[in-house]
Amino acid sequence: MTRRERQSFWNGIAFTAPWLIGLSVFTLYPVVASLYYSFCDYSVLQAPVWTGAENYTRLFRDDLFWLSLKNTLIFAALSIPFGTVVSLSLALLLNCEVKGTPLFRTIFYLPSIVPLVASSMLWLWIFNGSYGLLNFALNPILGLFGAKAPTWLTDPNWAKPALVMMGLWGVGNSMVIYLAGLQDVPKELYEAAEIDGATPWRQFWHVTLPMLSPVIYFNVIMGIIGSLQTFTQAFIMTGPDGPPARSTLFYALYLFTTAFYDLRMGYASAMAWILFIIIVILTVFATKWFEKRMHYGR
């Protein structure tokens, strides 16, 4: 290295020093340690004891592990497609150049920045079977067909859909990202399509969607990562054990209670690594799927 190179090397180290420490202490060390713990019996109170792959083999025989995984995958499989349709539809509406869109954008966006603890309280009240707003709205309609609205969070069949519904209220973030994506689509493409006689519906399928595919890809990946780690809503609205009938025992919930209520930190670390692997696999699948259909650039 020349003197100048050495100088800038040390400059680089000096500027990134906080992150070099942060990366090592708060990310790299925990990643390595958690991998190690996942092969140990560890309770935080005592030093970890190596047990080989026992945590993993026990996990595969643990019914609650499979149940929590199933619950989480069902939740993700519901909330990602519904979330995509709702946020994309709202973005398409807001992209129409009519007066007042900034106001509507604000309204649609606001719920997504509300503290999740507070919105959990609010939806707990909305989903209340006897006095909740939702059943007040639904029962007269369902009554026409002789049906009755479910009690949502206390009904094992409806607790998950209820949490999905609550999630749709907070799609503001991805909506804004879609909106920015829509505004980046060159207008000439639509003009050209129109000259060729394409209907708005065909324009959407052949211009908007392809041009938007990188943004959809980004939001879907974020959706996978986020929904597989769903924790706060379920912890607050139904409880740490995932009632009713463990229908909302999500993966992160089971992991958290295993680690911090039962103090089985090794077991929980094994769960965390399996979650990591699942996220990676799903992300790779999503990437492969989108790669065939994605349209980059202009």
Binding site: M1, S8, N11, G12, I13, A14, T16, P18, W19, I21, L23, F26, T27, Y29, P30, V31, S34, Y37, V44, L93, C96, V98, T101, F104, T106, I107, Y109, L110, P111, V114, P115, V117, S119, M121, L122, L124, W125, I126, S130, Y131, F136, N173, S174, V176, I177, L179, A180, V215, Q229, T232, F256, M265, A268, S269, A272, L275, F276, I279, V280, T283
Partner: protein, 411 residues
């Protein structure tokens, strides 16, 4: 895109208005509930305006609660003899034997409910459609028997009357102070326990502000410095570090959770606020990435010119780059504030004693103690958590939207 036909434009508006109604209703429901007296939270169909009802009860005009609608022709009587002697009662007319001045009353005898005839005096006959009303009292601890009466609907004055005092009451009980004690002392009665030894809302707010303020300071400083090192200083290892930074964004929090807890435990910091803000001073992958992308858009020539004039690397960063980076600093500050204010899992993980709780954790704790009954207080406490965020949003809307849009598109 612009809708081409007037019909198209109308359709867009209809959908926008309907959509925003759906998105707004939960907020309105939150505010309305937070301003209701408890008995009005539990009626179907729900009312949209909190009301105060006034009626004449035994000759006095007072605030009442409407208990139920009298559906059958009834009589108001006074019992002349028997175990309930002297009591006023409302009975269905069919239970009264008017000729003999007796009525069939339910009495408890040897733990069994039995019906017997007792002499009574009829005060007046009550037509169906009247309301049974009771003197309203906030507290469960009563100094006297609450008065009640049966009055025709027309005699009840219903006045819109939001209960603003739900807010101070909710905040006062958030720290675990006894609800009845709070209600009692706010009604002007001082109970024996006037010394407030409990942790309250102010403590939670202070904790939250400490975590938010120090966290924002740390996030802005550390991420800017690091991003500068990754964007503007050319050094060996820079690209490797940046690649690694991006890679760590993939790691889900549950993987880090257990060892992180162990780190803070071994430092003796579990149970304190430190684990919630100290990490902010050491950068975060996402924010570093965001700032680096911004710094890359600033031309290198600015720095080069200063360097030739003898400016140090730090000088370039501090005097040239930072002043140009206000927009991205604002985005990082805002996002960090928001995530610190909203964070639930972190406080749940590290905070054990009440006097260290942040607002989010205190709200959850409050709900698990009073939940399912005192909806008006729970909604008031939730509103207190939500309103500052909404106010902040209105002042910083542009920064917000721009920040999110950038993360998605250029990311």
């Amino acid at each position: 895109m612009q809708p081409k036909t007037p019909f198209g434009r109308i359709l867009v508006y209809v959908l926008l208005v309907a959509g925003s109604a759906v998105f707004l209703f939960p907020f309105i429901w939150l505010l309305v509930t937070s301003l209701k007296p408890i008995e009005q939270t539990m009626i179907m169909p729900p009312t949209w305006i909190p009301r105060a009802y006034t009626a004449t009860v035994q000759g006095q005009r007072i605030e009442v609660t409407r208990d139920f609608l009298v559906e059958r022709k009834s009589v108001l009587i006074v019992v002349d003899d028997g175990p309930q002697k002297g009591q006023r009662l409302l009975l269905p007319e069919t239970d009264l034997d008017g000729q003999h001045g007796r009525a069939r009353l339910q009495v408890f005898e040897n733990g069994l409910q039995q019906a017997h005839d007792y002499p009574v005096t009829v005060v007046r006959v009550v037509e169906p459609g009247a309301w049974h009303v009771t003197e309203r009292s906030d507290t469960k601890v009563r100094q006297h028997e609450l008065g009640w009466d049966v009055v025709p609907e027309a005699d009840i004055d219903a006045k819109a009357s939001p209960r603003w005092d739900n807010y101070p009451k909710a905040l006062a009980t958030m720290g675990g102070r006894d609800l009845e004690e709070v209600e009692g002392s706010m009604a002007g009665r001082t109970s024996g326990i006037s010394q407030d030894t409990h942790v309250g809302f102010v403590v939670f707010l202070t904790n939250t502000i400490i975590v938010c303020a120090l966290g924002v300071l740390g996030a802005v400083l550390s991420n800017a410095v690091v991003a500068y090192g990754l964007a503007k200083v050319k050094w060996k290892g820079r690209d490797a570090l940046f690649a690694m930074t991006l890679a760590t964004m993939m790691v889900p929090f549950p993987v880090l959770m257990v060892p992180l807890y162990g780190v803070f435990k071994s430092l003796g910091l579990v149970g304190s606020l430190y684990p919630l803000w100290v990490p902010a001073f050491f950068g975060s992958a996402f924010n570093i990435f965001l700032m680096r992308q911004f710094f890359l858009t600033i031309p290198d020539e600015l720095g080069e010119a200063a360097r030739i004039d003898g400016c140090t690397e730090w000088g370039i960063f501090w005097r040239i780059i930072l002043p140009l980076s206000r927009p991205v600093l604002a985005v990082v500050a805002l996002f960090h504030f928001l995530s610190a204010w909203n964070d639930f899992m972190g406080p749940l993980l590290y905070l054990t004693r009440k006097h260290t709780f942040t607002l989010a954790l205190a709200l959850q704790n409050y709900q698990s103690q009073h939940g399912g009954v005192q909806w008006q207080y729970l909604m008031a406490a939730s509103a207190v958590l939500i309103i500052p965020i909404i106010v902040l949003f209105f002042f910083t809307q542009k920064t917000f939207i721009k920040g999110i849009a950038t993360t998605g598109i250029k990311g």
